[in-house]
């Protein structure tokens, strides 16, 4: 039986020999909203919201990282199209964890198609 262990979604990478873990907590999501970040705009205005989303993901584990460094890292990030999707998923997780039932994944069968 395939069981999914629920764990916070994180994005990990190393930049200039420093390890980074990006994650959103309820506090950092609330902080971002306070600063004017609107999640619904991610799809409509990805170019303006993505840097803000990226910067916000540092708050949980690297709160005091300088903005310049974050911008520099962001400019070096590859595959930005996928990045926005992953960051949006991470941003939504603190709220989804409050509404999704833990039993949802239990006993479900994972499947893949070969065509």
């Amino acid at each position: 039986m395939a069981k999914t262990i629920k764990q916070a979604k994180q994005l990990k990478f190393t930049y200039k020999e420093k390890e980074y873990t990006l994650e959103f907590t309820r506090r950092t999501v609330a902080e971002m909203e306070k600063k004017g970040f609107i999640a619904q705009e991610v799809e409509a205005k990805p170019m303006t919201t993505l840097p803000a989303l990226f910067e916000g993901a540092f708050l949980a584990h690297h709160r005091f990282e300088k903005k310049d460094v974050i911008e520099e890292i962001f400019s070096h990030m590859t595959n930005k199209e996928d990045l926005i999707g992953k960051l949006a998923e991470m941003y939504n997780e603190p709220i989804m964890a409050l509404v999704e039932e833990p039993e949802d994944n239990e006993g479900n069968v994972d499947w893949t198609a070969s065509f």
Binding site: K6, R26, E93, A97
Partner: protein, 137 residues
């Protein structure tokens, strides 16, 4: 819970749910700063806790019911003089298979012991009678 038109939709939802998670044992730090998925597990734990409490109450009800049943001989309005209530259940109800098996084994052993004593008594009585008959002859 979630109002998308609010200027702070997520924050509002977080604050709305916050007291519930505090009530099921999550700390404020865990709720706001820890792994967001902890909430799943706290909900699941709360569900288990509720089920356990329900079973405990059911068991308590069983003891009360049992105790009242054992008292009924004396509670009867037309009970004969000298009627005694049955004693309270000797030991706690077995609540798992091992305990149930142990209790069953104890019961069977006690039954066998009673049988052995009965047979010994019978044998002693017979021996006594035979001895008496032999003496008379």
């Amino acid at each position: 819970m979630f109002r998308p038109n609010s200027p702070f939709p997520y924050t509002e939802a977080f604050y709305q749910q916050f007291p519930y998670y505090l009530s099921i044992g999550m700390t404020a730090e865990q709720y706001w700063d820890d792994d967001a998925t902890l909430a799943y597990y706290y909900r699941k734990a709360e569900k288990l806790r509720k089920e356990r409490r329900n079973e405990e109450f059911w068991l308590q009800g069983m003891y009360v019911y049992d105790a009242i049943s054992r008292l009924t001989p004396v509670l009867h309005a037309f009970a004969k003089k000298g009627t005694k209530p049955q004693p309270y259940v000797e030991e706690a109800y077995p609540i798992n298979k091992k305990k149930a098996d142990d209790a069953k084994e104890r019961k069977e052993r006690a039954k066998a012991e009673r049988g052995r004593r009965y047979m010994e008594g019978l044998m002693a009585q017979n021996n006594k009678r035979f001895k008496k008959d032999a003496d008379n002859e």
